[in-house]
Structure formats: structure tokens, C-alpha cells
Amino acid sequence: MNAVFYMASAVAILATLLAISRREAVHALLYLIVSLLAVALVFFALGAPLIAAMEVIVYAGAIVILFIFVVMMLNLGEVAREQENVWLSPGIWRVPGIMALLLTGLLVYALFQEDRWLPVDRVVDIKVVAASLFGPYVLMVELASILLLAGLVGAYYLVWRGPIRRPGRRD
């Protein structure tokens, strides 16, 4: 499983880099999907099959397909590609590059603090995940559901045409 972990991680990093640097939006999203699938494999190798399945169903299967849906609807063409070219000038990488480097340093430092960071010999059962979600973490689940409800109500409001107006009546 260690080999699977390292290979999947390498694919994830490579695909993410490609997702950032592609100029065609749909190609970038395709690399994002590859990256998410690789991350799912990483979860699987770490012994969390439920999270791996959720990663594929929710992120790769539902969220990115919505991105692609929007890109398809906007039908960006040559104009968008030129705009991306302007945005992706070499100078723009400086500040994010420094920030990412700092974070990587911190991550490597944190990883070396803990020497049992790869628990490959343990598989987390689905029932255990469910019991902890609806046991000690039930408040977080409820908060997340409230957040989703707010998003739902917001979306409903955006497409709401308002009360039906009858002629001759002011409101």
C-alpha cells in the first residue's frame, strides 16, 4: 500500500500543477478531476475507504461537473484564453510562490515532528465514521447542514421572480 500511496501522491501533485497552469478552462478542470481521483486513492491507501468514495462521489462526481457545466454554458473562447495569458504572466507567481513555499516548509516540519504519520495497517470502518460524526461531532454536522441550507435558500432567492404583480395595483 506504501507504493500506491506514493504513486497516487505524485500523480495528485503533478495533476494539480497542470490544473493551475492550463490555459483552456476545461482542460484545467480535467486535470483537477485527475488530482481529486488521486487524492481519493491516497485516502484509500491510508485505510479510509468511505472518505475515498465520498471524494469521488462528491468532489469529482458532483462539484467539478458543475464547474464544467458552467464553463460549457458560458462557452468561453479565444477571448478567455487571451485573458488567461495576460493573467498568467511570470511576475504574478511571485507572492503566491513565497506563500506556498512557507506552507510547504511548515508542512514538512510538522510531518517530521510526528513519526507515526502513515497508519497504513488500519482500515477505518464506515460504522466508526458514522458513530463519530453523529456522536462527538454532531454539532459540526449540524453547522455544516445549516451552511448548506443557507446556500440553498440563497439560490432559491436568486431565481425567485417575486410576488406576482397584478396590473393596477401598487406594491
Binding site: L50, A53, V56, I57, A62, I65, I126
Partner: protein, 318 residues
């Protein structure tokens, strides 16, 4: 040694052989059955009763020009038809055909199927986008909206079965049906799952992505030769997959008296497949707004209520 490595390979080879050939036979069977119900003959020239018609079609389709339109996005265009076949074939990994006859019995079987079916959407969406043609694009967008909507309650309708069986593994779900098939306590789930299955495989009442009257051929307008053949085979593989899952989850899988388990599974799956074809022969196509309305306004609440009642009853019975 033999059982550890050899047997799974035999199962993989067997499943691939049966499923891929069944897709070819289904094309002939569908045309013959449609003809029967419409009082005509259908293909009856090649071989006995026209059985060899798919072979003739296959030969023809392989010798067609493999044409990629110059305005298309080439890599995505070529990749799209492969995605649907790969995801559907991967889903067969978790289907239990008989005790022991399963490629791998992972404990997240149903979730794996849902993950694969949600990745299958990319095939049609990308095909529509890569063709760079407005009819294809509209077809691709319709597919995306339709499959996203129907995937939600397809998953929810399966959760009733999961609650009753207490497992995501399809083998354990079949074993849990020894006393009573789940088509009786989970009749609502069965109906919702079947409707969602029709929409996921975009079969006729829900075949708006390729509505030929308005969209030429929808997402596969620009495809020809074997690339089109892949979409076609993918559709029939999808129907087979939904049928075998319906059997495994609601009709007791391989359970049955006298006959060997594999045969029971095959017979039940064949009956559900014929139901798919009968529906195609008898129902007209929905309008697009009706399709989305059925999904979100009726099927989703229905599956949620089903889930709630199932959960409550299971808790009470404890």
C-alpha cells in the same frame, strides 16, 4: 495460491466476456422485441432469426472512416467515449453474480457503484463540449443536468436497502434477503431506483440528451465509426448494470430454488432487461422541464420519505 490469484482472474475474464457479448446480443434482442410489440419482423436476415445482425453491424462500424472533426478538441473528443465504457465496466466489479462469483467484495460496494456512475457523466458532457457544435453542446448540457439531478435520489433510494441489510456490500445485501426480497418492504425504493436507472442510462422516456427531433443526435452528433459504437455499447452495458443491480438489491440476487445460483441471477436480470425494452416500446419522451420537475419535486421527496420511514421502522423493530 490458485484461489487467491487464479479465481479472481477467471471471474474477471468471465464477467468481461459475458457482459460485452450480452451488450451485442441486447442490440439484436431490443430490435426484435420492439418489432414484435409493433407488429413487424425486425432484423431477421443475418443468421437464424437474425442473431448475427450485431456481428454484421460491428464489421460495418469497424470499416467506417474514423473521423475527428477539425474544429473539435481532439484529445477530449477521443477520450470521451472511452470514459463511459470504462466506468460502467468498472462498476461490474462489485456485482455479485453468485456466491463467490464476484470480482472483489469490497465493503463499500454500493458507494463504489455510485462513484463510478457519477464519473460516467463526464463522458457525455465532455463529448458534447469537445464536439464544438451547438447541438452537441446542448445535448451535453442536458445530460449533465439530468444525470446530476437523478444521481442524487438514485443514491438515496439505495440507502433504504442499505439500512435494512446493515451493509454496503452487495453480497451481504443479497444474503440478507433470504427471508423476504426487498422488492416488498422497499417497493418505493425500487420504483425510484428504476426511474433513476432509466434516466442514468438515458433510455427512452428520459433520452432528451439525444432527442433526434430537436438536437440531430445530441452529444454524439459528430461521432462516427467505433467511437460512436463505444457510446452505443456503453448504453447497453449501462442497462445491464442497472438491471443486475436491481436484481441484486431488490429481487434476491442469486437466491432461488432448484436451479444453480448463476442461472437464477441471469434469468432475473434478463426479465428486468426486457422491462427496459418494453418501456422503450410504450412510453413517449418527456419534455425537458417535466424531466427536471419529476426529479426534484417528486422523486427526491419520495426517496427522502422512504428513507425516513425505513429508518424509523428498523429502529422500532430492534
Amino acid at each position: 495460491m490458485w484461489t487467491e490469484i487464479g479465481w479472481p482472474l477467471v471471474v474477471v475474464a468471465g464477467v468481461l466476456f459475458v457482459v460485452l457479448n450480452l451488450a451485442a446480443v441486447l442490440i439484436w434482442m431490443e430490435r426484435r422485441l420492439l418489432a414484435l410489440w409493433q407488429d413487424r419482423y425486425g432484423p431477421n436476415r443475418v443468421g437464424i432469426f437474425g442473431v448475427l445482425q450485431p456481428v454484421a453491424d460491428m464489421v460495418k462500424i469497424f470499416f467506417k472512416e474514423d473521423w475527428v472533426p477539425p474544429f473539435a478538441d481532439k484529445v477530449t473528443f477521443v477520450m470521451a467515449p472511452a470514459i463511459i465504457v470504462v466506468t460502467v465496466l468498472l462498476s461490474f466489479v462489485v456485482v455479485p453474480f453468485a456466491p463467490g462469483v464476484i470480482v472483489t467484495d469490497i465493503n463499500i460496494g454500493i458507494l463504489f457503484f455510485l462513484a463510478m456512475s457519477s464519473l460516467g457523466v463526464y463522458s457525455l458532457a465532455l463529448a458534447g463540449w469537445a464536439s464544438n457544435n451547438k447541438y452537441s453542446l446542448i445535448g451535453g448540457m442536458r445530460t449533465t443536468a439530468q444525470m446530476l439531478a437523478y444521481e442524487v435520489f438514485m443514491g438515496l433510494s439505495m440507502m433504504g436497502v442499505v439500512i435494512q441489510a446493515g451493509s454496503f456490500s452487495l453480497t451481504e445485501i443479497v444474503e440478507a434477503q433470504r427471508g423476504l426480497w426487498y422488492c416488498i418492504p422497499q417497493c418505493v425504493g425500487l420504483v425510484v431506483f428504476f426511474v433513476a436507472g432509466l434516466a442514468e442510462t438515458h433510455r427512452i422516456p428520459f433520452d432528451l440528451p439525444e432527442a433526434e427531433g430537436e438536437l440531430v443526435a445530441g452529444f454524439h452528433s459528430e461521432y462516427s465509426g467505433m467511437k460512436f459504437g463505444m457510446f452505443f455499447v456503453g448504453e447497453y452495458l449501462g442497462i445491464t448494470l442497472i438491471s443486475s443491480l436491481t436484481v441484486a438489491m431488490f429481487f434476491g440476487g442469486w437466491l432461488g430454488p432448484w436451479l444453480p445460483p448463476v442461472l437464477w441471477f441471469a434469468i432475473k436480470t434478463l426479465i428486468v432487461l426486457c422491462l427496459f425494452i418494453l418501456i422503450r416500446a410504450s412510453l413517449p419522451r418527456f419534455r425537458y422541464d417535466q424531466l427536471i420537475e419529476i426529479g426534484w419535486k417528486y422523486m427526491l421527496p419520495l426517496s427522502l420519505v422512504n428513507l425516513l420511514v425505513t429508518g424509523g421502522v428498523v429502529l422500532l423493530m430492534r
